[in-house]
């Protein structure tokens, strides 16, 4: 006798092309008691890898009411070493349990012999790293049984040995693996300023047809030892005007997309956070073609 596996607790629910925010503990009560009209919530996968208790209880209550985006930070796709099988299995279990509308991870690495390094560290863009990243993404998509989105990084330093420009590297990863993209427009701006690049040129070359979600965030302006601008990906303040402009230019070409306001430190009260998400929706309403002119998918 074949015993069917238990049906997932949640029916699949895609992310709407609306503004979303990160789910933060300081807002749990407000969200569950007032049921605000927000497009979706995004959470870091690793925060829900405990066995039980309030995190899962709250996430279950949220997922009963809202679409969910699951964003991993610790998979270390850009590392030379193999993906951690236990971590991948935990991710697969989380995805099966909560049925998020999207799952995304970073073009970065964090695993080291000494331990897990708790940051999104950069990798050189070479034929060797390209093959390794594609192998890892193939493995992830096979294990979780669905498409993942790959997020572009913030860059502070370039590797001398890189032979691929970042946009071409990302486009080739998409071509080889069929993964989708999470376009972090703030990261595009930061990387362009930090390396004296051109954000508009980056976006013009970016494979926008494969973008399934957008991240917007605030950053901290600093300088390096030569007094050049060094913008830090701090996620601790409102989105900058330059980033709103790049976002408007982007959605004018892609059409409306699920857009997350990524505010992780010095988190404001709920009304201010929700207002940033509402602003993203206003930008989409003003600039994004309804569907006729969008880049062919």
């Amino acid at each position: 006798m074949q015993i069917a596996p238990a049906a997932p607790a949640f029916a699949p629910r895609p992310l709407p092309a609306r503004g979303g925010v990160g789910l933060k503990a300081e807002h749990y009560r407000t969200i569950l008691e007032t049921g605000p009209d927000i497009g979706f919530f995004e959470v870091h996968a690793e925060n829900y890898m405990g066995a039980g208790g309030p995190p899962h209880r709250v996430l279950t209550a949220i997922r009963e009411r809202y679409p969910l985006s699951l964003h991993g930070v610790g998979l270390s796709i850009g590392a030379a070493r193999d993906l951690d099988r236990g971590h991948l299995a935990r991710l697969a279990a989380l995805i099966a349990r909560y049925q998020p509308g999207m799952f995304s991870e970073h073009l970065a690495w964090s695993t080291h012999d000494a331990g897990f390094l708790n940051d999104l560290l950069p990798l050189p863009y070479t034929d060797e790293t390209l093959a390794r990243v594609c192998t890892h993404i193939d493995q992830v998509q096979t294990v979780i049984g669905r498409q993942m989105l790959l997020e572009n990084p913030t860059t502070y330093l370039a590797f001398a040995e890189s032979t691929w420009p970042e946009v071409a590297f990302i486009a080739e990863v998409v071509r080889r693996t069929g993964c989708g993209l999470l376009l972090d427009v703030n990261n595009v701006h930061l990387s362009a300023v930090n390396l004296a690049g051109d954000a508009a040129a980056y976006l013009a070359a970016f494979p926008l047809a494969h973008v399934r979600e957008i991240h917007l965030a605030g950053h901290a302006p600093e300088t390096d030892e030569a007094d050049r601008p060094l913008l830090i990906d701090s996620h601790d303040r409102p989105v900058d005007a330059a980033v709103w402009q790049l976002y408007a230019d982007t959605v004018a070409r892609t059409g409306p997309l699920p857009t997350l306001i990524e505010w992780d430190s010095d988190v404001p009260g709920w009304p201010d956070l929700a207002a940033e998400a509402a602003r993203a929706e206003a930008v989409m309403a003003a600039h994004a073609a309804g569907g006729a002119d969008v880049v062919a998918r």
């Binding site: 560290l121 502070y156 030892e225």
Partner: protein
Amino acid sequence: MSSHAERLAGFGAAILDARLAAPPGLLGPDGQPSARRFAVYRNNVVVGLTEALQAAYPVVHRLVGEAFFRAVAGHYVRLEPPASPILLDYGAGFPAFLEVFPPAQALAYLPDVARLERAWVEAYHAAEPGPAPGWAGLPADGLAGLRLALHPSVRVLASDHPVLRIWQMNLPGAEPGPLPPDAGPDEVMLARPEAEVEVFRLPVGGAAFVAALQAGKTVSAAALAGFDRTPRFALQEMLSGLMASRACLGPLPAQPPHPRGDPRCSPLSPPPFALSAPRWPGFP
């Protein structure tokens, strides 16, 4: 090792050891190295892990202050970076580190306060229990020979210091006050029967008693562990408290008889006391 692997190994080593120079070939916008830009990554890692540690040990942070905490954390996170990306679990070794960190040794109670905070975090994230065994069919001679199922979140701690009282009065928002110099030891049980972590002061011997139950000992064997700690172990008070705390889910099913006789019950040493069935709401 591939050049990819070598490159990342060198990068990671330099992140954790501030005495190392930034690796070569990491270039700013003018094609020149920039120590300041590499320092962003170093800073992110150390600050991020320090914040994770502070989130796990808020009372230790309050007791030693921001500057000292940042200093001790700076040493600890470089010595023991996380083994996994699951940061909610990070810092298990921090209490032991506080014990051997010379500048912290003036605060003799600090490592045990840290242990209490660690137990709280473990209880918070512990698994939800499966279906509760229930109390139907309790043997007529009461609890003595039973093993008990405890909630997966239960944690116990015994300290020579009054750590529960120190912890409670140094929680965020609480007001610390003086403790008498003979404040004495604390034994503590934590449990998260639903969504909230609850913290209980146990009678002396209680931590050994509960730990024995968690290890699958019968109530009578666990009681012996309590009496080992003190001949005045308040067993009935402990039992009533345990039941009232909702930390106990019910009896475990009886073990099948051991083929060479039950190692738990020697005919030469019957339990020294009889336990009557406890009375609590709902018990038939």
